[in-house]
Symmetry: C2
Subunit: 341 residues, 2 copies
């Protein structure tokens, strides 16, 4: 049996940028399995930008991460012990077992996944929470119509890459915003976006706005925001009347010092009146009832090769903190996961 | 016949605050009436915050006001000459004849109004564009439900006063924000809002947020914004999940210097994710098809005494510039009009 396992806990809360010192790796004894519970050996764990928000001790849509407790997060793995009729040893499952080699959960907190047609790690990305986030934001917040122009920031990321591909499938003209020529080439050549802007080549929001105007001469009807700050301020100047903006994430903010004016401040709300647009924040976990539909659609499109995805894979539990810090700095390329097996 | 009339033109564009020097009063000859046209003697002209935006030479939802041309705006008055079968001398009409004692319009640009049950000036306010703005924003943007909490800024103004009264009629708990104890007393005692906050007694947005929290302990579900800046930033911190914010105006911005960061900047867009709310700008002239329904409903409620209104009346055309500047500073109390007859 599993006598002990390694896990990563939150050792201290970051002020501004996360550092490796905010985490601690430790070996802990395995608890006994109770009736109705299942023990899982985690094969992959997911690293996601939302985790940065939970590291603060502040009101947010999620509870703060507890100090000295296992860092929370989604995982996929294999059942190694079961006291539930719902799962057998060898089943592949998705759960929220956190940054740890093993985890225990009640059966109802795990979902079986089919790792034969779609690789196990993809259930953390394109057919997991990030893919569902893209699906919900695109279909339910952006209300897209064929022929419209869609802009997506963090376009090569786990969420943005799916949003843009859903846009192309739905007949929109799609402009990505990403950091660096490699990501931009991937976005246009591999994912099929119509254009991609490398925001690192823009001096400021005004220059970025001009670059957007050049590739979206008919204006922007829908915008999917993962970044905020200059990106959002620039896109706002290009919105057509009655445009829709989905606020999915504001990663430009996540490392602000407490008390600082967020870098993501919206500098010209008067544009709300110029273009009479709608801006809406959303959290995919508010809409669990739609996950079967959304993930079913995406899984079919992935299996048919109509939706592509890419992963950044860090190896071994100890690599998780550095990989997470890299994610916050935009160093990943596609969905960031950690392989444990 | 009318040989000449006086009008006010835009003499220069303001930089920051509007001054009386930006306007010029002049006497001009009356043009001949053409076939299909109607000549109106204006009894009242409307002063509205949106006019400030048109004084800039900048992209907005409305065309800029032309220099040396009659200041545009809504008017009510009496037909004094008609070359249209649709109007007879003596009819009372509403039009967009601007800051002038007389005006000419094609018949299709005028609407007959019934000044017997509702005073003529009210067709510029509670049963005019401001009332319709309130109706559209309340019913179509805020999607209100009985029992929810509504906040309205500029609560004693032409628009805000109607929004709050519609809220009470629809069974919401309504909090007004207004400047000064007299306006606040009017909002609660005359208009029947549940509470009113005097924003002038708050040192900053944080203090204002605490004052809102005190009178809206269950949080805010819907917010109607006429002001922006500290008011909007404060209300945003008190929004409940899935709240709605209607951006009708941002009067805190209208006198910003060109190039300045607008005072209305939204400082913490992360709140879009905390409360997953929707913020939507709107312009009532986009929705002309709904005016008969909206104004019909309001007119009935005014006639029944269920919606009250108040006017600030300036006397004589020459008083218009000072009254308009006062409006931008919040010195008016209720709908600001200028009486010409």
């Amino acid at each position: 049996m599993v006598e002990s396992y390694r896990r990563i806990v939150l050792a201290s809360r970051p002020h501004g940028w996360v550092t490796e010192e905010n985490f601690r790796i430790e070996e802990v004894p395995s608890p006994q399995l109770q009736e109705g519970e299942v023990r899982v050996r985690n094969h992959f764990l997911s690293l996601d930008p939302y985790m940065r928000g939970r590291m603060n001790d502040a009101k947010s849509y999620a509870q703060p991460q507890k100090l000295d407790d296992t860092m929370g997060g989604a995982t996929v793995g294999e059942v190694v012990e079961s006291k539930s009729d719902a799962f057998a040893v060898g089943d592949t499952v998705r759960g929220m077992l956190g940054w740890a080699e093993y985890g225990i959960a009640p059966a109802q907190a795990l979902q079986k996944i089919d790792a034969r047609t779609i690789p196990m790690s993809a259930y953390l990305g394109v057919v997991g929470m990030p893919g569902m986030t893209a699906w919900y934001g695109f279909h339910k917040v952006l209300e897209p119509k064929a022929g419209e122009t869609l802009v997506v920031s963090a376009a090569s990321g786990a969420v943005g890459s799916v949003v843009g591909q859903l846009g192309k499938i739905a007949g929109l003209s799609v402009v990505g915003i990403a950091g660096g020529p490699d990501k931009c080439r991937y976005v246009t050549e591999e994912l099929g976006f119509d254009a991609c802007i490398d925001y690192k080549t823009a001096e400021n929001a005004k220059a970025l706005a001009a670059m957007i105007a050049a590739v979206a001469p008919k204006g922007v009807d829908a915008h999917f925001e993962n970044v905020g700050g200059d990106v959002l301020n620039a896109v706002m100047t290009q919105l057509n009347p009655f445009a829709r903006v989905a606020i999915c994430g504001l990663i430009s903010d996540y490392n602000a010092q407490p008390g600082q004016v967020p870098r993501s401040a919206i500098l010209n709300p008067g544009l709300f009146l110029v273009a009479r647009f709608k801006m809406q924040g959303f959290i995919v976990s508010d809409h669990l009832n739609l996950w079967p539909q959304g993930l079913g659609e995406i899984a079919r499109q992935v299996a048919e090769g109509r939706i592509k995805y890419r992963e950044s894979i860090a190896n071994g539990l100890a690599a998780a903190p550095a990989a997470f810090i890299g994610l916050l700095k935009g160093e990943n390329f596609g969905k960031q996961v950690v392989r444990l097996v």
